[in-house]
């Protein structure tokens, strides 16, 4: 019996909250708009609280790794130390202080830019591997389009390939717009179907 009541509460909450927000997209009524603003503000605050819960999970998992002396726990120590230092600097002197800027400029930006940089090697090898594993017409056209867009961005030394940049601008203006529109419309159909399954109570990921 308790199980059924609990389900009623959960499904009812999800459906009612969802309906108010959804109606606000289609019908502009002051009552709906103000209810919608309040519900959205609550959601923003709760999302920030959920972020803190996620952080606690991250810290608990890595602390347990250290306590249980699991393999690789030295990295967990490094993570907790760098987390604590950045948190203290940020909370004490503010998110845009000199200390926070120093950590951001000399730790986060270099590492993240380098991670994006090694993606270049990963993507070049991935492209070559795709042609080896699936040398189909799809892959060939995919690769030709990618090469034209790439080479159309820059000027190739010693060879006059100015036609490449006009080919690039035509490709980005016509077939890419056509393909992207078709794909995006399809993605929206999938998005709406997924959302509707939640709002009619068929999908209930919030049950525990």
């Amino acid at each position: 019996m308790i199980g059924i009541i609990k389900r009623y509460i959960l499904v009812g909450t999800a459906i009612i909250a969802g309906m108010v927000i959804l109606l606000g997209y289609f019908i502009k009524l002051p009552a709906i708009d103000s209810a919608r603003t309040i519900l959205l503000n609550w959601a923003i605050i709760l999302a920030a609280v959920a972020l803190i819960i996620g952080l606690v999970n991250l810290l608990v998992v890595h602390s347990r790794k250290i306590i249980d002396k699991k393999s690789g726990n030295v990295y967990s120590v490094i993570l907790l130390v760098s987390f604590t230092i950045t948190l203290l600097v940020g909370l004490i002197s503010g998110p845009t202080s000199q200390g926070s800027l120093w950590i951001f400029n000399n730790v986060q930006v270099p590492i993240e830019t380098s991670l994006l940089g090694i993606l270049a090697v990963v993507l070049i090898l991935g492209a070559v591997r795709l042609l080896y594993r699936q040398p189909t017409s799809f892959s060939l056209i995919f690769m030709i389009a990618a090469l034209v867009i790439l080479l159309g961005t820059v000027s190739v030394p010693w060879i006059n390939v100015s036609w490449l940049s006009s080919a690039r601008s035509w490709i980005t203006r016509v077939p890419v717009v056509a393909g992207a529109r078709g794909i995006l419309m399809g993605v929206v159909l999938g998005t709406v179907a997924t959302g509707l399954r939640v709002l009619i109570g068929a999908d209930r990921p919030y049950e525990d």
Binding site: A47, F104, F138, S155
Partner: protein
């Protein structure tokens, strides 16, 4: 007590046995799953059948209960049973994946590709020859600059920093020139972000400009950093609905709306210009869908990463334009630098960038040809996931 008939082989067995003495199959009557009462579909939509199907499919699957063994078993048979149990308890564990010693082909190709790119970039940086022609400005860039040049004195301009730190190298060259144009004209930038790190990205951009321009722009006299709008598209929606309620205080806790340049700003359309720096199509779409529709005459400009350009272009090409000017990637930055005659920011990297793109394209072309030839020998191919 009557004999028990084995359901498997049909022969009779003494009542106290649980295992058939003839074919060793269990004699205990298999537990009948309770009649799955036609569980009335619950939930507010209970009249409509088939709405909540998940449990009936899930309940059929249960772990079978282990059967107890009370049979007169000799010592040797008991030893055999223990042996069999030990064997099955470990389960069939496939040999764990031992990494093949030495460098695999994949690793070798990775190192070679990286070295080719590093050499090309080093050549471009050190020698800077052959000299690569800087890209010319197209309509997207000239219109972008036009919107900035025509700004009135101390015009409030909203700048949204919506990119991850990894894409700083792509967007900061054009951003530095744009900030220089705005501040030297006396415009008043207002910095916001829906990305957590966007707050400090804005601060970093001002710091870079101060280094390059050789003078120090300060808050709140020259610009203001409002801070972070949480909640992604939802947060942007409520920011658009009420910018003053969203930010009663700026990032470091000071009063905002009393400042002279912002006294007349009550909604986003009161800004003279909105510029979004982004690396993601979703964020660009959020600003276009949640904010763009209410900007009225205020132009919406975008400085995007090359990865977002293909999907932002349609919004620039749409009629009426939903994006009024677009600078994309380092190439866009270099073209903007050339067009405005701004400070040299993209120029030093342009040669190396050109070399890296040409070498990358060459590697894909060469590797692709070798792959196609190699695959021809392998002579069996299909599209990815059957495409």
């Amino acid at each position: 007590m009557s004999e028990v008939q084995c359901s498997h082989c049909g022969k009779e067995n003494p009542p106290d046995l649980e295992i058939c003495q003839h074919c060793q199959s269990p004699l205990v009557a298999p537990q009948q799953p309770e009649e799955l009462a036609d569980v009335p579909p619950e939930g507010p939509l209970s009249e409509l059948t088939g709405i909540i199907p998940i449990e009936s499919a899930v309940n059929e699957i249960t772990i079978p209960k282990p059967y107890s063994v009370k049979v007169r078993v000799s010592e040797s048979q008991r030893a055999n049973v223990r042996l069999l149990e030990n064997l099955t308890k470990e389960g069939v564990r496939p040999p764990s994946r031992e990494r093949a010693p030495g460098v695999t082909i994949q690793q070798a190709l990775r190192i070679l590709t990286a070295m080719a790119l590093i050499l090309a970039i080093s050549w471009g940086i050190i020698f800077d020859t052959p000299s690569f022609q800087l890209p010319s400005a197209d309509a997207r860039i000239s219109e972008f600059s036009e919107h900035i040049i025509t700004l009135p004195e101390s015009a409030p301009v909203l700048l949204a920093f919506e990119y991850e730190p990894g894409f700083s190298s792509e967007l900061e060259p054009s951003m530095t020139i744009i900030l220089d144009q705005l501040l030297s004209r006396g415009a008043y930038p207002v910095l916001v972000s829906t990305t957590p790190t966007g707050v400090v990205q804005g601060q970093r951009a001002i710091g870079l400009l101060n280094q390059k321009a050789g003078r120090v722009y300060e808050a709140p006299s020259d610009y203001i950093n409002l801070g972070y709008i949480p909640g992604g598209a939802t947060g942007l929606n409520s920011f658009n609905a009420g910018i003053r309620s969203t930010f009663p205080l700026e990032a470091n806790g000071n009063q905002v709306w009393a400042l002279p340049p912002l006294q007349n700003v009550n909604s986003l359309s009161d800004f003279n210009l909105v510029i979004v720096f982004t690396d993601s199509t979703e964020t660009a779409r959020s600003w276009i869908e949640q904010v763009g529709t209410d900007l009225q005459d205020t132009p919406l400009l975008m400085v995007a990463s090359a990865q977002a350009e293909p999907l932002i272009n349609p919004y620039y090409n749409s009629d009426p334009r939903q994006v009024d000017g677009l600078i994309a990637g380092l190439a866009g930055g270099a073209a903007y630098e050339t067009y405005t005659g701004g400070m040299e920011v993209s120029r030093p990297l342009w040669g190396a960038f050109n070399m890296s793109v040409v070498v990358a394209a060459g590697l894909i072309l060469f590797g692709g040809l070798v792959s196609v030839i190699g695959a021809a020998y392998k002579s069996e191919s299909n599209g990815p996931s059957g495409h």
